[in-house]
């Protein structure tokens, strides 16, 4: 009888928070992720930990350097092509 294995297990808060980053990164297997989701639906404290961790991840991603402006890219491309030309590279320009 495999039904026993199909039922999601109730996990405690300690287990839920130990899986915090793994769950947010999507690296848990499906049963483990389901257990976390099930726990978060009923646990306000753990839900707030997860929400705050998402905020931290968003802040890190937002702090990444912005895409360089076209003028900056043109200048850097010219510099790179000049350096490559010394190596024998022939660009169409």
């Amino acid at each position: 009888m495999i039904d026993d294995f199909d039922e999601p297990r109730d996990i405690d808060c300690l287990t839920a928070v130990r899986r915090l980053w793994d769950h947010l990164d999507g690296t848990l297997d499906a049963p483990a992720a389901d257990e976390v989701e099930r726990h978060l639906r009923t646990c306000e404290a753990c839900s707030s930990h997860y929400a705050f961790a998402r905020l931290v991840l968003e802040a890190i991603a937002d702090a990444a350097p912005a895409r360089p402006a076209a003028q900056e890219l043109d200048a850097l491309r010219t510099r790179v092509l000049d350096a490559l030309a010394v190596e024998g590279f022939r660009a169409r320009r």
């Binding site: 130990r18 899986r19 705050f52």
Partner: protein, 205 residues
């Protein structure tokens, strides 16, 4: 990248220009995240494409050009650091799940101190960038690759030649430290007097 792209033992200049140089915007962003200053970042961009050109025979057909160039960029960065004699040695961190647990505990303490609500009103970018610069290099680079540039654990592990578990523990440690830095940022903001041009809150001093 097209099918006839970087697939042969030697990439033509035309293909290099079309496929490898097309990664310039991504390389610039990655170099700026890794480097400590704009001059070093520009040097790093140049070193990256020189390295890619000199090593263009090492590109494996079918591999992701962008990932290949990013890997060259990071190795070039490490060489620059080595030359500057600034390579840091640090501990690897502890069990990754304990880092998750410590992250949640740090959040609980911030809630108790009333700092979480204050964070919502702050510009977190400068605090994150300062804290990121202060991280030991092995932790910093994993965060930049995964959380800023979307690399997978597998890709970072292959690139750094370390087990996936090491990537995971470094990443979780780094996130915990960055979270702690944000919380301290909120605490400091509460200690600073309000700017004179800030709107009046109506609260008692």
């Amino acid at each position: 990248m097209s099918d006839e792209g970087i697939a042969g033992p030697m990439v033509s200049d035309e293909v290099f220009e079309r496929d490898v140089l097309a990664c310039l915007p991504d390389v610039v962003r990655f170099a700026r995240a890794l480097a400590r200053d704009p001059v070093q970042a520009e040097d790093l961009v140049q070193e990256t494409f020189l390295g890619a050109y000199r090593g263009r025979h090492t590109f494996r057909p079918g591999a992701d050009v962008r990932r290949w160039v990013m890997s060259i960029c990071h190795h070039a960065f490490l060489r620059m650091r080595d030359r500057a004699g600034r390579l840091q040695v640090t501990d690897e961190g502890t069990d990754a799940e304990l880092e998750s647990l410590a992250t949640a505990r740090g959040h609980s303490a911030a809630q108790r101190d009333g700092l979480e609500a204050r964070l919502a009103a702050l510009d977190l970018g400068p605090a994150i960038r300062t804290a990121l610069d202060a991280l030991p290099e092995p932790f910093r680079v994993v965060t930049i690759m995964v959380d800023m540039h979307g690399a997978t654990y597998d890709e970072v592990a292959a690139h750094l030649c370390v087990p996936i578990g090491t990537v995971r523990s470094r990443l979780f440690r780094a996130r915990r430290l960055l979270q702690a830095a944000l919380i301290e940022h909120a605490r400091d903001a509460g200690l600073r007097p309000p700017r004179s041009d800030a709107p009046h809150s109506g609260e008692a001093p």
